[in-house]
Point group: C2
Chain length 225, copies 2
């Protein structure tokens, strides 16, 4: 550094959030690219491949925000290396529908968690994180694919069971992340909840919010959560 004045140190909690989000998007890119190769048709393959490139674009925007705040992207992302691995290893999808549902639920729960964390960050970072989440094309693919499978009652109840296992896994991974990273607890406590809870109560509330969002999503898919 040759500047006369050192810029103020970036807020470390926000750096943790942006690092987690950037690493999550990068690993989503890798997973989705791998999934695209397994898709049963070339049309589905293209949708998933494009979702992968969009995840990488989201990573780029998060990396740019980290730089804007004076942080180092590699340093911010490093603690979260392998963040998706833990979720992946808990349960192995047996069919293409299970694989799709697993990715869909995993990404959705992670998105919700990132949005809740971002409520404790500065305005620009919070708006950035909120704007990045969700991928309508991918959601549409999953809904379309599963609606075919769900016309079979046996398959539907198997998938509903699978969905329950997945959300349990996703919440356990998030709980582990909150325990290991005090920054996340602080961000959650700092966030202004619409339900009026603050501080520690707010941290407790997070898991109720994540579960409720999951239930809504499963209903949208026609699965009993």
């Amino acid at each position: 550094m040759t500047t006369a004045q050192t810029p103020p140190a970036p807020d470390q909690d926000t750096m943790a959030l942006l690092g987690l989000a950037a690493e999550f998007e990068f690993e989503s890119f890798v997973r989705l690219a791998g999934d695209s190769a397994l898709a049963p048709s070339i049309a589905e393959r293209q949708v998933i491949a494009r979702s992968a490139t969009r995840a990488l674009e989201r990573q780029d925007r998060l990396v740019a925000r980290i730089a804007e705040l004076g942080g180092d992207a590699a340093q911010a992302m490093a603690p979260f290396d392998g963040v998706i691995e833990d979720f992946e290893q808990r349960t192995t999808a047996g069919t293409w529908s299970e694989r799709l549902l697993k990715a869909f639920i995993g990404y959705a729960v992670a998105d919700d968690f990132l949005r809740l964390l971002a409520e404790g960050a500065d305005d620009a970072s919070r708006e950035l994180v909120a704007s990045l989440l969700g991928d309508p094309d991918y959601a549409e693919l999953v809904v379309g694919q599963l609606s075919v499978v769900l016309s079979d009652d046996v398959a539907a109840s198997r998938l509903a069971l699978w969905g329950r296992r997945l959300v349990g896994d996703a919440l356990a991974v998030i709980q582990g992340a909150v325990v290991r990273n005090p920054a996340f607890g602080r961000l959650l406590a700092r966030g202004s909840a619409t339900d009026g809870t603050v501080g520690e109560d707010r941290v407790q509330r997070v898991f109720a919010v994540l579960t409720a969002e999951h239930t809504r999503r499963m209903e949208r898919l026609g699965l009993t959560a």
Copy 2:
């Protein structure tokens, strides 16, 4: 089809070329995305991830050209499903440098082969294929990474040996593709070679050209081919 007149059937040899190229680019996308996750640093990871998304963009342009010629992309690509697998399975890279060199050589030999095939296609398809080939950022990454490794004589001679094995594998895969797909023999025979060879001689020449290009590349890397 409800149109009164059926459009002329697209040239099947060109469809085979464009289908192969599109499938190759798609599978390159998947492989590069997977490689990006293995990169030893976040900087390298980003370069490789971006190369992956560029491969998908190239696939998109090839798919658009197939549609322009009245072909069906899924149908054109399907016969080449797993095209990179054969090359991947022949030899397993033991180190990151070997992995980088493998991808670099594999893509480069494939690019050369596609360019030679394209000489037998219509002008627009030929120009499209020629314009798509090569990824300077990825090449720069490989050259930079290997130049560090090559300062060690033992590592350099190991990598030179590895490079010889790889080009043998790549040429064997291409030979298999030409034997299985008469369209490729016809495209190669139709191409106007700068060395004046035509027809069957031209098909024979292809392997000499691919070997010569490989030797030049290995020299650029400082490896004795």
